[in-house]
Amino acid sequence: MVISRALYFRRRLANMVFIVLSVSAALFGLVWLTFILGELLKEGISALSPTLFTEMTPPPGSKGGLANAIGGSILMSVMAVAAGTPIGLFAGTYLAEYARFGKLAFVVRFVNDILLSAPSIIVGLFVYEILVVPMGHFSGWAGVAALTVIVIPVVVRTTENMLLLVPDGLREAAAALGAPKNFVIKLVTWKAARAGIITGVLLAVARISGETAPLLFTALGNSGWGWDLKAMNEPMASLPGVIFSFANSAYDDQRALAWAGALLITATVLALSVIARLLENQKRT
């Protein structure tokens, strides 16, 4: 047998090049990403202070905090999740439990996946058209509506995926004991899929807490903040919205606030994703 040294060498060389390239790809990715996080930490931490949580967003040239933006973001996110989760849960249940192979389910699944990755700025335009124009002004409610539209597809997708992981034997056993279908779903499959569904909701919260584009033309922004529901009827500040308007500011104070807000949002989003992952892993073991 003749061993072609040239061929052997070529194959070894190609392999080396391949390994070097993919290792450097990984390094390339990690370097950028640490660069971003590092800069965010550096700029954000130096801008952190207790007054962030107690004072309102300042007019140009003076000091202030982000209290109204933080409050607005939390309020709108909580309401959007409260409104979007039941709809998403039931729609996901419909797909997994009632019409797994039906034509309607196929269409809903397809449309849902499109909505899941559709540009969020489109959602802002949609809510602007159906809520802001008829009401005549920007409002916290419109912001909630826009965020709800973003929550629903996320919850639908995870709910369906998680319910499909529940073995059919469980459903059949419950049905054989005489449980009507809604009992089977409520007491057996939802319970079995609970951790996964909660993960989905957490991911939805993570997703909307950083959303900016859909809030620009719905909630707009506000330099004040009221603790009653009437405030929902007014334009409402949000963290991402404040970052967007302050980042281009000529004043250092406002730019520092933008960085502080960016750090807060990123910390929230990353914490939520970590909790979601922990829950998911717990379920697997």
Partner: protein, 331 residues
């Protein structure tokens, strides 16, 4: 009274009738529950239909005024009320294209590193880091791009690039002009960093579905890692990777905040990639709240409609590919 006497005489009958009653109530509950689920599913469809309808209605005035010429005109002049989408469409397509050219090979490289080359103990932390970074909100990329990346890029990459390319034909046009820092190319690079973790995560998930028997068989025949990856794993995962890349493209096309910060907001098509430009989403985000006049606003909504149509086509194709892959996996 009759109830009691009945139960006195025939206990089984009562038991039966209570059971029938319970079953009937449960049945009614069943119908109600199913209808609620159905209604929720229809809500999803209604939102989708509502999005299309509202965009169509909103863009009517602009469509009536400009017709299809809207897509092919570059002029964007709010003061003269003349609007054309060409510069925005150009910016959206070019930034996404450049981003894909960079992010797809690098993303696949990262995924290969994670599945095959990375030491086992590092696999989970690096994988998790990449997944978490895919979740960082786009406004963070935007603010970082604007304050940190663009100035650095202007000084250390753009200026040298312009100098080097100054006497090379074609390149001196593509990379000509002044170093602004912000611009189409900067936006494209930031987009590529944003979609990189996404492509890496999808590709890694797909690569993990390759049966180990296939890999072991090829290693057994003496193949190198490169040959196993290139001739066995990647062909096996082709559909999944292409589907994942299309999903990423869908994101890149619609990405708003990161692009808005760094693209420069100039409604013109410049032959130089370093020049400021605009994209559909950046135009809408920047101008919508300030748009006065029905026609201006309607033109921006028509831009939104165009973006929706473009992303719909890309995402629908991605869906179909991923579905096909899932089905063939099921066999």
């Amino acid at each position: 009274m009759t109830d009691i006497s009945l139960s006195d005489n025939t206990p089984q009958l009562t038991a039966l009738s209570t059971r029938v009653e319970t079953a009937r109530r449960a049945g009614a509950g069943d119908t109600r529950f199913r209808l609620m689920a159905l209604a929720a599913a229809l809500t999803v469809l209604a939102i989708f239909a509502g999005v299309i309808a509202s965009l169509l209605i909103g863009s009517m005035p602009a469509f009536k005024a400009f017709g299809f010429a809207f897509i092919t005109t570059e002029v964007w002049s709010p003061t003269r009320e003349r609007f054309g989408a060409l510069a925005s469409i150009y910016g959206t397509l070019v930034t996404s294209l450049i981003a894909m050219v960079i992010a797809v090979p690098v993303g696949i490289g990262v995924a290969i590193f994670l599945t095959d080359l990375c030491p086992r103990s590092l696999r989970r932390p690096i994988g998790t880091a990449i997944e978490l970074l895919a979740g960082i909100p786009s406004i963070i990329y935007g603010i970082w791009g604007f304050f940190v990346f663009a100035p650095w890029f202007q000084e250390h990459v753009q200026q040298p690039l312009i100098d080097v390319c100054a006497n090379i034909p074609v390149l001196n046009v593509l990379f000509g002009g002044n170093a602004f820092g912000i611009g189409i190319f900067t936006a494209a690079l930031i987009l590529s960093i944003m979609i990189l973790p996404f492509i890496a995560a999808v590709t890694r998930d797909v690569l993990e579905t390759v049966p180990s028997v296939l890999k072991e068989a090829s290693y057994g025949l003496g193949a190198t890692s490169w040959e196993v990856m290139w001739k066995v794993c990647l062909p096996f995962c082709q559909t999944g990777i292409v589907g994942g890349a299309m999903l990423a493209l869908g994101r890149a096309l619609g990405e708003t905040m990161a692009v808005t910060f760094v693209i420069g907001n100039a409604h013109k098509i410049d032959p130089s990639l370093l020049a400021p430009g605009t994209s559909i989403s950046a135009s809408i985000a920047n101008e919508f709240t300030e748009a006065t006049g029905e026609l201006y606003r309607s033109a921006l909504i028509e831009l939104g409609l165009l973006l929706f149509v473009i992303t719909f086509i890309v995402l629908a194709a991605a869906q179909l590919m991923l579905r096909r892959m899932e089905r063939s996996k099921g066999k």
